[in-house]
Amino acid sequence: MADAPADAFERYLVGGAVRDLALGLPATDRDWVVVGADPQQMLAAGYTQVGRDFPVFLHPQTHEEHALARTERKSGPGHRGFIVHAGPEVTLEQDLARRDLTINAMAQRPDGALVDPFDGMRDLRAGLLRHVTEAFREDPLRILRVARFAAQLDGFRVAPETLALMRELSAAEALAELPAERVYAELAKTLARSPRADRFLEVLSDAAALAPWFKELAGVATDPAILAQLDGAPARFAALCWSLPAAAAQRLCERLKVPNDWRALTLACVRDGAMLARWQAADPQALEAALARIGAFREVDREAPVFAVVSACAGVSLAPLAARTARIREAVSSAPFRAQGLAGPALGEALREARVELLRIDPAP
């Protein structure tokens, strides 16, 4: 196998795979860097090329991604992309030097030997997120990436010099110039991969980097125990926004250009969450209106994501209200009212009254 042409190159496992292996975490994508080869040699050895912006190849057997060692530099003014230089003369160290954090800049030979020019293993053992070089400044999104790793990697903290660099970049308002889509994407990754969104915000706060993107969340400290009860990015985002005034949550959603499901869930929680949490004491008409806004009477379990966030954030069980909502869905339908000749607004009013009635009777203790 070692003699197969595809394995004859000088190649190294790099990035997240090496980091997660060292941390004993489940394997993520295994990415490789190939040193000293050109695209023709890769193709001749049976690799298939997939990269458009830079040369990436799939291994003929494992289908794992193999990239030629490369350097990246922001391209000329007016362009927003990077000039990528890949060639047989680019060294492994140069390829590793363009990475953001030392724990992400380690490489491993196929025989398991570690190549670690930036002391990533030392930082990994110490639980430190440390920038590799000053080129960290090139992309302010890296501030958010550091916060993401702090959320994803349990027990990791930001090295003091990296935090100082992040503060410097924040003071220079570099973050303000990022496109909303990139900021959203980093937030979405964080929330999808880790329940510790509180750490994400804490690191941004330490770096004075909550403004401008997350400024509404300054001073908001979400209990990690609450986040731990919630699955998925939309629910975790709604939990972060739980204590915000509705107008602030709406501004945040608009600025971050979050998808409609995030936005609907978040706004439902901040507008109606307090009432849903104390539903036994709520005015039945207002309660019916809130459930209708969520869409609970249109579609089975439509209320479930909202109830999950409200339950976690308010520390109450909404199981009885969920049961009652399900009963109303079964019991109240438009057919009998139509048979009575009702239509249009009158039909809507009759349905509302029927639901309110069912929310009113037999109030739970």
């Binding site: 530099r73 922001k74 000329g76 003014p77 007016g78 160290e93 140069q94 030097a97 363009r98 070089t133 000053e134 080129a135 960290f136 400044r137 090139e138 302010p140 410097e168 970049l169 220079a172 308002e173 570099a174 110039e177 990022l178």
Partner: protein, 273 residues
Amino acid sequence: MATWAIGDLQGCAEEFFTLLDRIRFGAGDRLWLLGDLVNRGPGSLATLRRVYELRDQVQVVLGNHDLHLLAIAFGGHRAGRSDTFDALLAAPDRDNLLHWLRAQPLMVSDRALGYAMVHAGVLPQWSLADAQARADEVAAALTGVHYQDYLRDLYGNEPATWDPALSGMARLRFITNAFTRMRLLLPDGSLEFAHKGALADAPAGLVPWYAVLPPATLAPIRLLFGHWAALNGDSGRDDVIALDTGCVWGRALTALCLESGDRVSVAASNDRG
């Protein structure tokens, strides 16, 4: 603990290292560098590496040659025949050094110490607080996401006159020219760039910026500047101190101790001049 200010290094690595030894620069000391760390001299890479190693003890302001280097590295400009950046631009650690350099300011002031520093000068119309705010505008452009646009459009002598209503690149260019290139002013206070030589040879009607800087602008602060080697360290004023003693032109590199007022000089290596 001492704070030493040193004028234009311009890649004079050998003299710089000798001077650091001569002043017994130690772990508790601080260094103020007046800009133009690089270019013309033979050791730009070694100079910048040493400054970077000392970065926790160093305050730097950017000079025109530093900006020129950044404009070549990131702004799409080409090196000229007299530029000596080749080794630096080819170095494996170039991005580390250049991105650090890009984050340095155009003006530093320290009230407790009683000093401020700029590379070329402070426009006489500005108060010290105005000047710092203007310098910070350029620093923001240099550290922002669109720094390459700034470095592309940096060059030019226009506008030559300050107007608070200036905006965009014209505003940034004027501020940059005032802090990093200014020497002489026309009677109307506008910048004049043709004359670089000795003051005595300056065309009639032109005055050096520091001659018309109101003393009240600075007091009680004293202002350090480099850039103008032909002055050879003499501004004729106690509160505006010229520190470029022309090392790269074969004269000397000078360090001034800001606490004691001591001056220590190292003569330029004789393989140049």
